[in-house]
């Protein structure tokens, strides 16, 4: 039985999507102020135009339904799926005018990448980009990392009923506080604490390196936002390589790890339950995958004969492994991943990206808890096969509390796992069709779907438009963990009666 959205439902969806677009328009105030401070008059006008378009389109959509009813789960999924696309399209307008993008499609690629905290980019001449444009790119990661719906929720902007449905539809699984509005605000509170601490630390390091006061503050804020929100954008083409600094890289590493941790776990630690960090299945799986992957990357790098054991392996190997799980900041060139890491190192990073971070974190990918649950389920199957037929086995796992592994939990984890694998494969096939080698196509596809952002060199302004669209879809679907996207596709099928057409 399919629940088809009627006209009234679509009007309701349009209303809320309009609100999100208005939110994006209002957020452009920050780059406008930045541009005024830096006297970037031409860029300020780009943002004034972008703001005008976003506010006009957004308020027009809001008029579609002047007194929306309670948001049901299906509405929430449709609002989220459409909302992310509409927000990215609105956010792309000033960037498309900046001269740093080949087309509006390229600008939208970057805004989708920014909002989904992927970090893949097709920007051109980034090193000459205006300060206000860079502010906007990094601000999008800050908004997207927490979720644009969470951002709206935290300001309680007119989202009356169904707030929790919206929260879940955005790929979040846990209510951290009893009230979903408090949950949204807690997420922003944690983010504010890390961003403040990270900015102060990196600013001190950049000042030591020789940055001027204002550039130091801006770069520190941007790097922190990108690292904690597991985004991976940077204000310079060389990404973290620009700074040549062990301290900057290590601070970014800490922020990336913090960003990959479940916000619910942050709440537990915040309340004093530090033991949860070690007991939690999610953090154990993450630690295990990172440790095993780091060893494999180190083997790959030393086998190449160019890297000596020492700090180089930490800065180039372990860093990339953790970055693959989270932000996608790079301390090596894409060509190095292919030429210097060896097959074993490359595979380790691909697996790291595929697994990703934690549930309800800013990270993407399959998520460590799902991998843990599926592994435990396999273990249960083996135990059951070996046990006497009359025995009933149960397996427990710890995730914020002691839980029993049920078929429903395993089934849900397996479904998302399969959807991720399918999408990884889809992008790989697309890359191969466009003529890229298997390692290149696989690496970039996993990076896009898992919202990692590491690039082996495929993603570039000269990449075929078709492949850009595939990666945009992967980043969007991966960030929303597919369900909202599948509901949207199902609604389109129902709206155009494609099922009937296919039957006939």
């Amino acid at each position: 039985m399919w629940l088809k959205l009627g006209r009234g439902d679509l009007m309701l969806v349009a209303h809320y999507v309009g609100m999100l677009v208005v939110g994006i328009g209002l957020a452009m105030t920050i780059p406008v102020i930045t541009g005024l401070l830096y006297r970037e008059w031409a860029v300020v006008l780009d943002f004034v135009l972008g703001m005008g378009v976003a506010l006009a389109v957004g308020t027009l959509l809001m008029n579609a339904d002047i007194r929306p009813e309670h948001v049901r789960h299906t509405h929430a999924l449709a609002i989220t799926a459409f909302g992310w696309i509409a927000a990215a399209m609105a956010a792309a307008v000033p960037l498309a005018l900046s001269g740093n993008y080949g087309s509006y499609l390229d600008a939208t690629f970057d805004t989708i990448s920014g909002l989904t905290v992927s970090g893949l980019t097709v920007v051109q001449d980034l090193d000459h980009m205006a300060v206000s444009d860079n502010m906007w790119r990094h601000l999008l990661q800050l908004i997207g990392g927490q979720g644009i719906v969470v951002a709206a929720l935290s300001f309680a902007v007119g989202l009356r009923g169904g707030a929790f449905s919206l929260y879940l539809a955005e790929g979040r699984d846990e209510r951290i506080m009893p009230n979903v509005l408090h949950t949204a605000r807690f997420i922003w509170f944690v983010t504010a604490v890390y961003v403040a601490a990270g900015t102060a630390t990196i600013f001190a390091e950049l000042t030591y390196l020789g940055f001027s006061l204002d550039r130091g503050i801006l770069h520190a804020f941007w790097l922190t936002a990108a690292a904690f929100d597991t985004g991976g954008f940077a204000p310079q083409r060389m990404n973290l390589m620009y700074y040549h600094s062990l301290m900057v890289e290590m601070t970014a590493l800490v922020l990336m790890i913090a960003g990959s941790i479940n916000f619910a776990l942050h709440a537990h630690v915040w309340r004093g339950a530090r033991g949860e960090l070690w007991k939690n299945l999610e953090t154990r799986v993450l630690a295990g995958v990172v440790a095993a992957g780091s060893v494999l990357v180190a083997v790959g790098l030393t086998a190449s004969g160019r890297f000596e054991p020492g700090l180089g392996l930490l800065r180039k190997g372990v860093f990339q492994m953790i970055s693959g799980h989270s932000a996608g900041h790079q301390t090596v060139y894409g060509t190095q991943l292919l030429q210097d890491f060896g097959s074993v190192g490359l595979i380790a990073i691909i697996i790291g990206m595929a697994v990703g971070g934690s549930l309800s974190s800013t990270g993407g990918g399959i998520k460590a808890l799902r991998v843990g649950v599926i592994t435990k389920s396999i273990l249960l199957q083996v135990k059951q096969a070996l046990a006497p037929p009359s025995s009933t086995l149960r397996i427990r796992y710890h995730h914020l509390s002691e839980r029993i592994l049920t078929p429903e939990v395993t089934g849900a984890a397996a479904t998302v796992f399969i959807l991720y694998l399918g999408t990884y494969l889809l992008g790989t096939v697309a890359g191969a069709i466009y003529g890229y080698s298997l390692p290149e196509a696989l690496f970039e596809s996993v990076s896009a779907t898992a919202n990692s952002g590491l690039s082996i060199g495929v993603t570039s302004p000269s990449m075929p438009s078709g492949l850009k669209l595939v990666y945009m879809f992967q980043m969007w679907a991966g960030r929303l963990e597919f369900i909202a996207v599948l509901v949207l596709i199902a609604q389109i099928v129902l709206a155009f009666d494609l099922k009937g057409v296919l039957k006939r």
């Binding site: 135009l49 005008g52 006009a56 027009l60 008029n63 000459h128 205006a130 062990l246």
Partner: protein, 169 residues
């Protein structure tokens, strides 16, 4: 005798210049993008690379400075002396085009001195063309369209509020 001495000095100067890495190296001039893609067999060899100095020069651990240069939209880190870094007047950013520099130096795919960095250690460094301010092209029509959009948004917002209040009565 004087002529002989002068000739000898000139010969010595010429030889010195010819064998010095700054002028004597005759390999092809590469862009940073070409250096990054270079055959790994070139690791440890002397190369010539040209690019635009960007951002600022940065303190390097253990002495010296880092200058990042840009070419074909790829950046590359060059380890230089303080004096070399000070010779740069303009660094590329939104306001300025940076000085174009030519570097002769040793390529390190994974530098032993700098914890595995992909870098070039400059033996000689020369600014071959000065950068300068970039022009900002202001298009007022963008502002007009933007303000018009905001005006439309304001009217639509008022309409929304009025319709909503009417419905609630």
């Amino acid at each position: 005798m004087r002529r002989l001495l002068l000739s000898a000095v000139l010969l010595l100067l010429f030889t010195g210049v010819a064998v010095s890495p700054a002028f004597g190296f005759t390999g092809p001039t590469l862009s940073p993008a070409e250096v990054v893609e270079i055959d790994r067999a070139a690791d440890g060899s002397v190369i010539v690379v040209e690019g635009e100095a960007i951002g600022e020069h940065l303190r390097a651990r253990g002495g010296g400075r880092w200058v990042n240069i840009l070419g074909d939209d790829v950046g590359l880190g060059i380890w230089v002396t303080e004096e070399m870094a000070e010779s740069i007047e303009y660094f590329g950013d939104h306001r300025n085009d940076g000085d174009i520099v030519r570097v002769v130096g040793t390529l390190n795919v994974a530098c032993d001195v700098h914890d595995g960095e992909f870098d070039v250690h400059a033996q000689s460094f020369a600014v071959i063309s000065r950068g300068g301010p970039r022009e900002q092209e202001i298009e007022p029509i963008k502002g007009v369209v933007g303000v018009a959009g905001m005006g439309i948004a304001f009217v639509l917002w008022r309409t929304y509020r009025q319709r909503r209040e009417r419905r609630m009565l």
